[in-house]
């Protein structure tokens, strides 16, 4: 990534061969041109380029941002000369975009539970209760028909971008939470190219789409278009914007905005590493993490250690927590994981046992139970996992490991799995997620 520094100074001169022809390509500047005065997304582009980046199927003359082709020499036109007209986002309100979410994937104890929300429950309440499938359905309904009940809230005004994007973010975010990421990756395509000038506020040049949705869009579009490398580029686009806004905020002595953009920049930095992991470029991710600075929360050193473990370089993981200041708990967690990676499950088990004496962390309990299975004490591991469920914990990982143990315990594990699903369905509704899918119980 860093080589693009030079390229960025000269403009677009990177090879375009890597991008599928079916996609509009956005600007690809390097990450280090953050000090540009101008926001890069509004930087002059060749007319053909700007034309190409328009979302397909949009009304081409709907705003001043889609100029007719001009000569290349004359591209940065004064945009504010034309009074901004409201933009039409009705292409995001088409019902055919949104897939149905049938309840067949949900185990019966959840489907028939009295905890299921009624159809008129507002979306924020559904989110707070961890009923993400219902929230995803409600968001799509709000976008396409304007609420469920007759006389409900009207369908959003096609120009009400704030409302539309909030609902769309809810929809896509909830899909990722109910293991329907492939559907989200299809639905996100409706947004087309968020780098298009169409998504910019003509008066201010700011992006109309909320930051969260733009970040989520990066990963989902990369999945949807089968082009994982695009994630990295798009994240760098976001990082560049964050830097610019950070510089603005600093110049204005706006401390809260500065903190916000700092946080966002750091967040994007970690997500770049994640995108590289998803591309299976683990050495690249390691190099990238090495280039980030720790923010004092210990997350970076943990991320590095986990990446080394994932890659298989156990010594590097150990060294990482030893040489960089990791807090004691993190160091012990990594040490225990390293023992597991070395196949020293007894030693790891002892370490998890000690950690468990100090904290209620679900991770510690689950990892200890896994170790118990590896040393031939599955019955104890199963009891430990069941005790975590009794305490109200129900992460995908916990349920997956417990149902795997059920499969080892008997030919008739289905009975145990159904009982487990009944038990989890009686848990309180929290933002941790209440409704589970059949896959969570391997049903």
């Amino acid at each position: 990534m860093d080589q693009s520094q030079d390229a960025a100074a000269k403009g677009h001169n990177r090879s375009r061969s890597a991008v599928k022809a079916t996609r509009p390509r956005s600007s690809t500047k390097g990450p280090l041109d953050a000090d540009e005065v101008e926001i890069p997304l509004t930087s002059p582009l060749s007319p053909q380029h700007q034309q190409r980046m328009l979302p397909l199927g949009l009304p081409r003359n709907s705003g001043a941002a889609s100029p007719r082709p001009r000569s290349a020499a004359h591209s940065p036109a004064p945009r504010r000369a034309v009074a901004p007209r409201p933009k039409d986002f009705s292409y995001l309100l088409r019902p055919e975009i949104y897939h149905p979410l049938p309840p067949q994937n949900v185990p019966p104890p959840f489907r028939i539970s009295p905890k299921q929300a009624s159809a008129d429950t507002p979306i924020p309440a559904l989110l707070a209760r961890g009923q993400f499938r219902a929230a995803a359905i409600a968001a799509a309904q709000a976008l396409t028909t304007g609420g469920v009940l007759p006389g409900g809230t009207p369908r959003p005004d096609p120009a009400d971008h704030a409302r539309i994007f909030e609902l769309l973010y809810t929809r896509l975010a909830c899909l990722t939470l109910i293991d329907a990421t492939p559907l989200a990756a299809q639905e996100v395509k409706a947004l087309e190219d968020l780098n298009s000038a169409y998504y910019l506020d003509e008066a201010t040049g700011r992006h109309l789409v909320p930051w969260e949705l733009r970040v989520l869009n990066v990963r989902l579009q990369a999945l949807g278009f089968g082009d994982p490398r695009r994630s990295v580029m798009s994240l760098y686009d976001l990082a560049r914007e964050a830097r610019t806004r950070l510089a603005d905020a600093t110049a204005r002595h706006d401390n809260s905005a500065r903190e916000l953009w700092k946080d966002r920049l750091a967040d994007v930095g970690m997500r770049v590493a994640g995108a590289l992991v998803e591309m299976e470029d683990l050495p690249g991710a390691a190099h990238h993490l090495a280039s980030l600075t720790d923010r004092g929360d210990g997350k970076l050193v943990m991320a590095k250690a986990l990446l080394w473990l994932h890659l298989g370089d156990v010594d590097a993981a150990r060294e990482c927590v030893e040489t960089e200041r990791a807090d004691e708990t993190a160091e012990r967690v990594v040490a225990a994981l390293c023992d597991m990676a070395d196949g020293e499950y007894e030693a790891a088990l002892a370490q998890w046992g000690e950690l468990r004496g100090q904290s209620d962390d679900e991770m510690v309990g689950v990892n200890m139970a896994v170790c118990l299975l590896y040393v031939g004490r599955m019955q104890e591991g199963r009891a430990l996992l069941e005790s975590l469920v009794d305490k109200g914990q129900s992460s995908h990982t916990l349920l997956f490991n417990l149902t795997t143990m059920y499969e080892l315990c008997t030919e008739r594990s289905r009975t145990l799995k159904i009982k487990l699903s009944e038990k989890v369905a009686t848990m309180d509704e929290t933002p941790n997620g209440w409704e589970k899918a059949n896959a969570d119980f391997k049903l």
């Binding site: 975010a173 969260e212 970690m270 990892n367 104890e380 009891a383 490991n401 315990c409 030919e411």
Partner: protein, 397 residues
């Protein structure tokens, strides 16, 4: 993947009261997470130029791989590196995966009290299961067997030629097998009664086997037990076969070459005399290591174990050189299909008073260098190790 099962062979048609379940114990894997901020809390409105805001909200808990410690929710003790994609919580292996030469195959075997529920109306006689034993053997492609047929019958016929596997935890020598008891129902087991004194409904063992050959392997597991009701009892046995294919993981190609003698040097003899000697003969051994598996691997060490009279110098990456230095220390990472080239300088040891010819023996005009050992790690530290046959050269001079 290539994990097949054959029906058990037992004269008694009645279903067995003990079930056998197995899980290949590859390394557990770190769970991926995709943290996202909760909807309906967007901190900055989208169009305003002046952003009045606080820090971004923490991610919605459901998007994390596990719930954080409720008691210590603050960030200093939080072990989750969110928004990073990897989390420290682990999953058991989801599937059999691929088996590769050079790895250790590990598998857990569980013999369970699994008496079928009685048909309705029939008064239940509780069966007692006693003296349960598990034995495991591995048939490898080189195991002599009837014409090498992979069929179950042939495998069973070849049972005598199979490698018996050690089970862990080991049985107490001379002791009886284990008694199994009906499992308590869900909820009762949850009370933390899993301690050693509890009545077990499962006998669990773990086996390990170093995979050294390509081709079809068969893990054969025999379970024997004594089944008793109030009125009668009998010894029963069944056997299950699990077949899998072991694939090559690393291709090693070598090429020796002549380097010429080392320049003459001074050697201090045992008695302190200094003698100028002619340097020993030198060769270059190059090797290309190709990852032919489907997973990435980190090369941990590549060593040439020399024959007597030779020493080898390593011209490859530096591993563990101090470590403190800062920058990312690089062990070579080989993605599937990638090749790493390594090189060694092999030198004859010229012993001051060892007489002519050093300690190197020539055989049929050939000098044998030694064997090349390659150790690697894959995801989550899973180990592999392979050594070549004896490598050498005909370029004697």
């Amino acid at each position: 993947m290539a994990h097949q099962r054959y029906p058990s062979h037992d004269a008694v048609k009645e279903p067995h009261s003990v079930s056998l379940k197995v899980l290949r114990l590859s390394r557990p894997s770190l769970v991926a997470q995709y943290p996202i901020p909760p909807p309906f809390t967007s901190v900055s409105t989208t169009t305003t130029t002046t952003t009045t805001s606080t820090a971004p909200p923490p991610p919605i808990p459901a998007s994390l791989a596990y719930s954080p410690d409720a008691a210590n929710g603050n960030s200093t003790t939080n072990t989750n590196p969110s928004p990073f994609i990897l989390s420290p919580i682990v999953n058991l292996p989801p599937s059999f995966g691929s088996a590769y030469v050079g790895e250790t195959f590990s598998c857990t075997l569980c013999a369970n009290y699994d008496v079928a529920p009685l048909s309705t109306g029939e008064p239940g006689t509780l069966k007692t299961i006693r003296d349960v034993r598990i034995e495991a053997e591995m048939k490898t492609p080189s195991t002599p067997s009837a014409a090498g047929a992979a069929a179950a019958a042939a495998a069973a016929a070849a049972a005598a030629a199979m490698t018996k596997l050690a089970l862990s935890p080991p049985d107490v020598p001379g002791a009886k097998g284990v008694d199994l008891h009906p499992p308590s129902s869900l909820g009762q087991t949850g009370g933390g009664d899993g301690g050693g004194g509890a009545k077990n409904s499962t006998l669990q063992k773990v086996v390990h086997f170093d995979l050294k050959e390509e081709g079809s392997h068969v893990l054969a597991v025999t379970v024997s037990y004594y089944e008793a009701t109030d009125v009668s009892g009998r010894a029963r046995t069944f056997r299950k076969l699990y077949q899998f294919v072991c694939k090559p993981s690393l291709i090693v190609r070598t090429k020796p070459g002549l380097l010429g003698r080392r320049k003459s040097r001074k050697v201090v003899g045992r008695d302190g005399t200094v003698a100028a000697t002619e340097g020993g003969r030198r060769w270059v051994l190059e090797a290309q290591l190709e990852n032919c598996s489907e997973d990435g691997m980190v090369l941990e060490r590549v060593v040439l174990e020399c024959e007597r009279g030779l020493v080898a110098g390593d011209c490859n990456w530096e591993v563990g050189a101090g470590g403190g230095g800062g920058g990312v220390k690089v062990r070579p990472v080989l993605h599937p299909g990638e090749v790493e080239q390594v090189c060694f300088v092999v030198e004859e040891v010229v012993d001051g008073d060892g007489g002519d010819g050093g300690g190197v023996k020539e055989q049929d005009g050939k000098i044998v260098f030694g064997v090349l050992g390659v150790g690697w790690r894959t995801e989550m530290g899973n180990r592999g190790f392979l050594s070549t046959g004896k490598l050498g050269t005909r370029h004697v001079k």
